[in-house]
Symmetry: C2
């Protein structure tokens, strides 16, 4: 069996791949701040060229997209979707080592983007390296699309995919992420929620006022914002925008069946995040799992207004801003939610609240019983000691809709994530053993997919 | 008449006084941040010593207090209350010249504290200088108490005043501020609202979460804070804390009569602050004036939570904080309001919202028809071309309660302020002509008071 040779090669070349990953992590590439994106795209392109790929950096209205292809022995085409941008690193003071200096400690590698998503990219290239080193060619045709705006809701990716449909044509797609759960079971995530991300802002005066002067008679931007936010959702967690739930499709029987097979995450969440309880009186079990993914959300991601320093300042703020994201479930659409949000604010006397649309994505899912999903799940068995477990939908978002709906591809997840990977948070990290396992899984998948 | 000599001296020595003021402004002294307070207190002490005062820096649990005294020809004792601390200068980018570099432009002097309150202190010393230069002595005994925590609600002043009652005994008190209104009429502000300043904070988890994970099932600190704030006051501006209005004393007939004599500030406020309208449907006139000062307030002074940078970050905040001040009218008391706030939050399911009490002051007023008030108002006539106009209560707060209630003094205001002085805001400034006028007024008051 060829996999022995592949495994042996991977086990003896791990450090080289981690060095490549470290170089990539050390290049900041923060989409939210437009920081380092071109430089990072060039690094990614070079990584492909070095491996004999045809690779191009293609412009978009935002960050450029790297597209790469190398033909293999069979005509079957596997497309990998990854992204080279990362989340902002703040709060900086909570990092143990600097976010843009990849640092190895106790079997882990720390750094912003080490898991989400640079580590996935290099681990997959590592799997290709194993094929090239051991057999001189790839078993199937491999394509990559690596974008630079995933963390700001991929505003330019859907039109790009539609525009380059020919070039991106494939038989199946492997998504940017994946990983094991708290039991160590590799998970097959079959769908993503959509998102609608907005900044709400209010300006009530041309300057901050002395709070002793304005408090009783002049408008306060922080109060206007507080009331506008409170009109969106109350402590019962029901979102009050008329029509918000209109297109929500309830989970199917198969969805409930798949979710019911998953362990109860309640105790793990309590421990990991130090929370005292769940919303809406949820205790755990299937109901918690259903609420976690099949219910759309309205989340305040940030608040800014007035004086935020130490001690007191008696000021009445002229400006206030909130970052808010809505996670959408099939078949909600971000443009529809945006329109309903505006109408709701207007109808409730908050015409003074400005909405800046910072990005949106549609929700999308792949059939849990598609043959490609079977293949990805089964090829994991030898690496992880068990096949992947199917999850019908997860809480996060991503631009899978153009791949599923425009390219018509089944999209499977597979990756090196684990519950304490801290994506989007300080001390983001990967476990080196899982990095190697992901490469081994991908090496197997390439071989099996070539013959499927 | 001796005032001619005094006026002539003041007019020819203005630059020296402004230089002294500039040195004082250039020494930052931010009570909210504990910055530069000792150094500033030492500068103030030296200013008194230079003028033959007995002056001491006395410690408190917070910033030290400077107490100074110089005996004069008559036994009458006039006490000046001033403060050497200033508000934080942010937002820094809205200053035309640096806040801690006093800068003269077009008949004005700019800088943090130039009006509130360092300019008042030096203008009063300037008036004393005129007496000392022209007659070799002060006409009456003059005392000063100059504290360093006025901008954080003077937490240590009331016990200090009670503790040093003997030393501070006087026949009357001139308050730290005063000035002309938009018509150029010198105003006699006879009372101050109280204040209760708190920081509300919530912590819902031990780390910020990925918003895709936590949104539907885990608590969000920013939402908890938003709802807690919204429970305090709605868009009708009525404060919903049970018992909040219990001790509010409505304005008397004399209060309404005095307020009715004031011009309608509505148009001026609209223009100056660029606001589109007033709260509660107020249009202007007596009703606006009454609401402005005789109604207690609940003001959000600042909001902080989660991601506040450019663009989007999909994070669910574990922590959220609001700065909130309540302006209190006679006979509300800050400790009582604090207790009622805690009870209200607990009763409404917000036991998770922590209250940090950052300071409080009681409201207090002087009788509009006290003979000392008559004297201060009348001595203004020759300087301003008209006597001062009496205002029964103003919107701001200050520690006048211990002077009025513990020392039993009538407290009058007089000062160099004017509507565009921008206290607590960027580009704080004073007009040099008003600086001189305040010194001339104080010089006259000292002479008249000595004989009263």
């Amino acid at each position: 069996m060829a996999f022995k040779k592949l495994d042996a090669w991977l086990e003896t070349h791990l450090d080289e791949s981690l060095e490549e990953l470290s170089r990539l992590v050390n290049q900041p590439s923060i989409a939210a701040q437009g920081l380092g994106l071109e430089a990072c795209a060039e690094m990614v392109q070079e990584m492909f060229v070095r491996r004999g790929f045809q690779a191009e950096i293609l412009p978009t209205a935002g960050a450029p997209i790297v597209v790469a292809e190398r033909r293999g022995r069979s005509d079957r085409r596997l497309l990998f979707y990854n992204h080279y941008d990362v989340q902002p690193p703040d709060p900086l003071d909570l990092w143990t080592s600097p976010p843009f200096t990849a640092t190895r400690r106790e079997g882990k590698l720390y750094g912003r983007g080490v898991s989400d998503d640079k580590g996935h990219l290099t681990a997959r290239l590592f799997a290709l390296d194993a094929w090239l080193a051991t057999s001189g060619e790839l078993p199937c045709t491999v394509k990559f699309i690596v974008e630079g705006e995933e963390e700001i809701a991929s505003p330019n990716l859907p039109p790009f995919v539609r525009q380059h449909k020919e070039r991106l044509q494939a038989d199946a797609c492997i998504w940017e992420f994946g990983g094991i759960d708290q039991r160590g079971v590799p998970m097959q995530y079959l769908g993503l929620r959509g998102i609608c991300y907005v900044e709400l802002s209010v300006e009530t005066a041309n300057t901050d006022l002395h709070s002793g002067l304005g408090g009783s008679i002049m408008p306060n931007a922080a109060w206007r914002l507080t009331w506008a936010l409170a009109s969106l959702k109350g402590p019962d967690e029901r979102i009050r925008i008329p029509g918000f739930y209109e297109h929500v499709r309830p989970p199917s029987e198969r969805d409930r069946q798949l979710l019911a097979q998953l362990p109860d995450p309640a105790e793990e969440y309590r421990q990991r995040f130090g929370i005292s309880g769940f919303l809406k009186g949820l205790q755990g079990g299937l109901e918690l799992r259903l609420a976690e993914v099949f219910e759309p959300t309205c989340t305040i991601c940030g608040l800014t207004s007035g004086y935020q320093g130490a001690g007191s300042k008696t000021v009445q703020p002229a400006r206030a801003t909130a970052k808010v994201d809505f996670r959408l479930v099939p078949d909600q659409e971000p443009e529809d939610i945006l329109r309903k949000l505006r109408a709701h604010l207007d109808a409730n006397g908050f015409a003074d609240v400005q909405i800046c649309y910072l990005g949106g994505e549609s929700p999308a899912r792949t059939d849990p019983d598609h043959p490609f999903i079977d293949l990805v799940c089964e090829t994991a068995r030898e690496v992880y000691g068990q096949p992947m477990q199917r999850v019908p939908l997860v809480g996060g978002s991503g631009p899978n809709a153009p791949f599923i709906h425009d390219l018509g591809l089944p999209v499977a997840t597979a990756g090196l994530g684990y519950p304490d990977t801290r994506a989007h948070a300080p001390d983001e990290n990967i476990r080196l053993d899982l990095y190697l396992q992901h490469a081994r899984h991908m090496a197997r998948l390439l071989g099996a997919f070539a013959k499927a």
